[in-house]
Symmetry: C3
Subunit: 142 residues, 3 copies
Amino acid sequence: MKVSARNVFNGKVRELRPGAVNSEVVLELAGGETLVAVVTMESVDSLKLAVGVEAVALVKAPWVMLMTDAGGIRLSARNCLTGKVVSVADGAVNAEVVIELAGGTKVYSIVTRDAVHELGLVPGAQATAVIKASHVILGVPA
Amino acid sequence: MKVSARNVFNGKVRELRPGAVNSEVVLELAGGETLVAVVTMESVDSLKLAVGVEAVALVKAPWVMLMTDAGGIRLSARNCLTGKVVSVADGAVNAEVVIELAGGTKVYSIVTRDAVHELGLVPGAQATAVIKASHVILGVPA
Amino acid sequence: MKVSARNVFNGKVRELRPGAVNSEVVLELAGGETLVAVVTMESVDSLKLAVGVEAVALVKAPWVMLMTDAGGIRLSARNCLTGKVVSVADGAVNAEVVIELAGGTKVYSIVTRDAVHELGLVPGAQATAVIKASHVILGVPA
């Protein structure tokens, strides 16, 4: 598999919470973090997602929001992964910012250059990658 | 709180429509507009979202679609906010376009440069920012 | 209608699977492909979506992931559209890649330049556009 998504997280299904159309899937990542995905029930069936199954979570970099100074706020986004900025690559409007989590997992994000400046996103700075569960695509070995 | 999301809308929860996995949350913004978000029921519980609660809605600029000439079409996207273009900043592939709503709220969008030209997005032009409910992240004071 | 979304797919509703908050809508595109969208039940009602109704599916280019060499993986994303790369336009951080499907439909995607190189996305290469059902906005004639 080769995908354009900058974020390809390997993990194992730890929990499934089925609904009528969608299901919440909790993945335990190799580095120990958990990642929550919301996928359709049809995908749960066709991918045979079940507790213990190995899966990858794919997240495009523009779907990752960054947060610093989380003090004073709690978010509806199910995934808040805190780490340290390891690189910032500037474009004309956007910038690619890479965060490394404690377990070594790297999270890629595309944010505006203005955000880079306002949040002080420089290598070494602490930052939290925020990912909505509905923005995660799951994959299983064929 | 400091977030990379260009759109941070302050509001108050006006309505909650719970489902099995997800819930629809209707926010009334400071400028009088309403914004609909779909978040997981687990978030509704953990954030203690209820009618009257103050909340912020976070939306990354690339999640905002722009529309001009809405004549002849109705969209499934729950949030269609009409205003006037106040700035356009060009990149190589993308451009950042800012719309100001009647109540003074600014909405940031990243669209392709081709779209800027095709839609005639220049300062002063009328445009509608289209945001899917499932693309809104909610936050509450901790 | 004029929208910034690079992808405007014309089709007809082939199937509706209602849930509590959301509904899955299966669209048959002009080129014969199917596209699945998840929209709120409220949108199904207000747009009077029903089997046989003509609709457009709008998808912003940054919401489209690209995949080559799909061997060995099955994805939760309901929409996997395979075609050939017809153009690649580089920016500083991102690139716009256009895929043409067998039926002639073009799919626009914004991915990072790194992804373009890693996946070997050059005109003529085969690639699959991956679109989550929850990232599709539906529209119907007013």
